[in-house]
């Protein structure tokens, strides 16, 4: 955190100071350059003017009318005097050379010297004096142009600058003026070569001053800027940053930042941070309280859900020792607790009460209402009476204390197990679905009474229904038909019946699982909106009821449902065949074991989860007598003999019971043969009696 803050500071200060220094340096360079240029220009102009005046003055020392005569060889007294004067003048005005030349005007390519005064002391040079009539070629085109200007264009002064001569000579300027005769004609050119040292010497201190003052100004202004930025920008940002860091770490309200800067933007930032801290601290406090409350409610709800779940029977099989019926129920509340309920209990040894109900609304109020209703119904049912009386009583009780004006729909049935007679009454509940014998599940459009809790004084009508062995009744709450898919279509009773009829002969548990999976497939993961509760009962017939097939003693073949409860029938059928032949007790027991193991296998696995039939053939023939037993079923193709024998040498802890039955059968019978023929499993066994 600290490292980050330092980097922010470095960025701000150094970037701004760097920018200021850079601008100052650029400005200094620009000023130096412009100043230098104009200084040089002015100096040059001044130099040129004074040199021109020197040259112009020098022309008065030369007589323009006699120049030709000097060149023709007349070194007169006048020439000597002019020469002495020019030498003297050259020394006096401190120039390197004063000379007069007569230029060849045909092409200005050469000239001859007339006068030539040399002063090597001025510029530490080493020129030698040209003789009268010394002829030279013009130095370059620049000189040629200047000569022509003076001769032909009436120029009064021309100057050649050689501030950076390349030939090792010192910097100098050469100023040329015309020498005229008395008629005003240009006869020659007078040149003065003057050292240019002064220009350079004057420029150097100027340049130094400019550079120094610029650097100084840059340093001073950068320092001032840095101090200013540090105080006015970095320090407030640092304060805000420190406070934000502290707050992030401690989550407590600190000293308010207050007025940390005279700049509005910083003041607003500080104010926002202060406000934010206050708001966040109070928000966190609220959230903590809220979360604690919520957790307590969640815990209580979860407990309430467990209590509710435990208030109805939820262990299956519920009555494993009762052979007359099989029952299975499920209840899935949409929330932690629900308003649906089911219940079943014995009123007496022969009467089983079945209840399903659905309270209006959902959640805790519905759950409380459901508990009250459920207890009232079960208490009243155990006191005896028929469903219509019971519902009427419960309705009166509930209406008397129905502050919340809630109501509940109930279907109540009482089944007489010995006869299969079902008496039921419906208080505004969904139609039950019934499957008779070999038919399909159909809705039973029973007569509805008014909902319980709706109005005092309501009476209920009851109806009677005869259940035969194998009949199934399915009751449910509206969570099933009203389960809603994402496209807002409802599951409906048609789809429900279709699902039921996919497993019309399944056990109640299989049937409920089928309906549930059909609902799940239908809603495709949409949130469960309503509680979903189902109850299914299969009536299997009175306890003492025997298979009618048993009496037909002469039959050698028996076809019956592959169900465990038919095991005794099959054993009796085989025993009868053996009895006629006369069979030792020990052999008979061995055969019984084989019959049981094979039959139980078929009953449990051949058709699972559906059911089907099995045909048993038994015949004793030959001498010595041999029993032939044949089991045939239309279930899943399966060869029990192919199964690997269990290891019977293992200790108890490692023993597994699987395969033991078939193994015993193999040990006890003389011959075993399996085949799959015409869509049926056929297992044939032989045993010498």
């Amino acid at each position: 955190m600290k490292k980050k803050t330092e980097r922010v500071r470095a960025n701000l200060s150094f970037n701004i100071i760097g920018a200021i220094v850079l601008v100052h340096v650029l400005f200094g360079v620009l000023v130096s350059f412009l100043g230098f240029a104009s200084f040089t220009e002015a100096f040059k102009r001044e130099y040129e003017t004074t040199t021109y005046h020197m040259a112009d003055t020098a022309t008065t020392l030369v007589n323009g009318d006699h120049l030709k005569a000097y060149l023709a060889g007349e070194e007169t007294e006048e020439y000597q005097r002019s020469k002495r004067n020019l030498n003297l003048y050259c020394k006096k005005i401190n120039v390197s050379l004063v000379y007069v030349i007569d230029v060849d005007t045909s092409d200005y390519g050469s000239f001859v010297s007339v006068f030539n005064s040399v002063n090597n002391e001025v510029d530490d040079s080493s020129y030698t004096e040209w003789e009268l009539g010394h002829k030279r070629n013009t130095t370059n085109d620049e000189y040629r142009r200047k000569y022509r200007a003076i001769y032909e264009q009436g120029s009064v002064c021309e100057t050649v600058y050689r501030l950076r001569p390349g030939d090792g000579a010192h910097p100098h300027i050469t100023t040329m003026v015309p020498v005229k005769d008395s008629a005003g004609e240009v006869r020659a050119i007078l040149c003065i070569q003057r050292p240019a040292r002064e220009i350079r010497e004057a420029r150097r201190p100027y340049l130094r001053n400019i550079a120094l003052s610029t650097i100084l100004l840059a340093l001073v202004s950068s320092t001032v800027a840095a101090l200013f930025i540090r105080k006015q920008f970095v320090a407030p940002i640092q304060k805000v940053s420190d406070e934000a860091t502290r707050f992030a770490k401690e989550n407590t309200k600190g000293e308010p930042l207050g007025e940390i800067s005279k700049f509005e933007e910083f003041a607003r930032l500080a104010h926002s941070i202060d406000t934010m801290e206050t708001d966040m601290v109070s928000y966190v406090e609220n959230l903590t309280t809220f979360t604690a409350d919520r957790e307590r409610i969640v815990t209580e709800l979860s407990l309430a859900g467990k209590i509710q779940e435990a208030s109805i029977p939820n262990e299956f099989p519920a009555f494993p020792d009762r052979e007359e019926f099989d029952i299975f129920c499920t209840m899935d509340p949409a929330r932690e607790v629900g308003g649906d309920f089911y219940n079943f209990y014995f009123v007496d040894d022969d009467h089983l009460a079945l209840v399903i109900g659905d309270v209006s609304g959902k959640g805790i109020p519905a759950a409380l209402f459901m508990m009250v209703t459920n207890i009232l119904i079960s208490d009243r049912t155990r006191m005896g009476g028929n469903p219509a009386e019971i519902l009427r009583f419960v309705n009166e009780e509930i209406c008397a204390h129905n502050e919340a004006e809630m109501f509940v729909t109930v279907w109540l049935g009482i089944l007489e197990l010995s006869t299969g007679k079902l008496v039921a009454a419906n208080a505004g509940h969904e139609y039950p679905a019934i499957r008779h014998a070999d038919g399909a599940f159909e809705l039973l459009r029973d007569k509805h009474g008014f909902v319980i809790g709706g109005m005092e004084g309501v009476t209920y009508r009851e109806y009677e229904l005869q259940l035969a062995p194998g009949d199934r009744i399915f009751v449910y709450t509206d969570g099933v038909p009203e389960a809603t898919a994402p496209d807002n279509t409802m599951f409906g009773t048609e789809r429900m019946l279709a699902a039921l009829n996919e497993v019309p002969t399944g056990s109640p548990e299989q049937i409920l699982k089928k309906v549930r999976s059909a609902v799940d497939d239908f809603v495709k993961g949409a949130e469960q909106f309503d509680d979903l509760t189902m109850l299914c009962l299969e009536y299997k017939g009175a306890k003492a009821q025997e298979e009618t097939l048993m009496s037909e003693t002469n039959k050698t073949e028996l076809t019956l449902a592959a169900a465990l409860e038919n095991l005794d029938t099959v054993q009796s059928f085989v025993a009868e065949a053996l009895e006629r032949a006369g069979c030792p007790l020990r052999t008979q027991m061995q055969i019984e074991v084989a019959v049981e193991e094979i039959f139980v296998n078929i009953a449990q696995y051949a058709y699972a989860p559906e059911t089907g039939d099995v045909t048993v053939f038994a015949e004793v023939s030959g001498d010595p007598a041999v029993l032939t037993l044949r089991f045939s079923d239309g279930g899943i193709p399966y060869d029990p003999l192919a199964r690997q024998d269990p290891d019977i040498g293992l200790p108890a802890e490692e023993r597994d019971i699987g395969g033991l039955g078939v193994y015993m059968t193999k040990q006890f019978m003389d011959e075993l043969h399996y085949e799959y023929r015409d869509g049926r499993n056929v297992l044939t066994m032989k045993k010498t009696l």
Binding site: E596, E597, V600, A652, E653, R655, L660
Partner: protein, 99 residues
């Protein structure tokens, strides 16, 4: 059909079985044993009147033997010849204590 008589005293339980221990009746014995076994360290099964046993019965005996291996001992007494043969054929003679 199977009739079960049981006496439980000081962690000693005696179950006397009469009739047939098969697919139909085995769940009865299983339920009785499940209720009785907690706290029992010596279980005796009297098979004097047990006429018949199938693999469903063996399953219950194996489960009981596994429980008793952890909390005490289990023995089976007065086994008749027919039931004895089933124990022999299935190897149960080796894992049960048959007196």
């Amino acid at each position: 059909m199977l009739t079960i008589n049981k006496t439980i005293e000081d962690g000693k339980a005696v179950f006397t079985l009469e009739g047939r221990l098969d697919t139909t009746t085995a769940p009865m014995l299983e339920k009785e044993l499940k209720e009785a076994l907690p706290g029992v360290n010596d279980l005796t099964l009297d098979f004097a009147d047990l006429e018949y046993i199938s693999s469903a019965g063996l399953r219950v005996l194996l489960a009981a033997q596994k429980i008793m291996n952890r909390q005490g001992q289990m023995k089976i007494v007065r086994v008749n010849e027919i039931v004895r043969e089933v124990f022999d054929v299935t190897g149960f003679s080796d894992i049960l204590t048959i007196l």
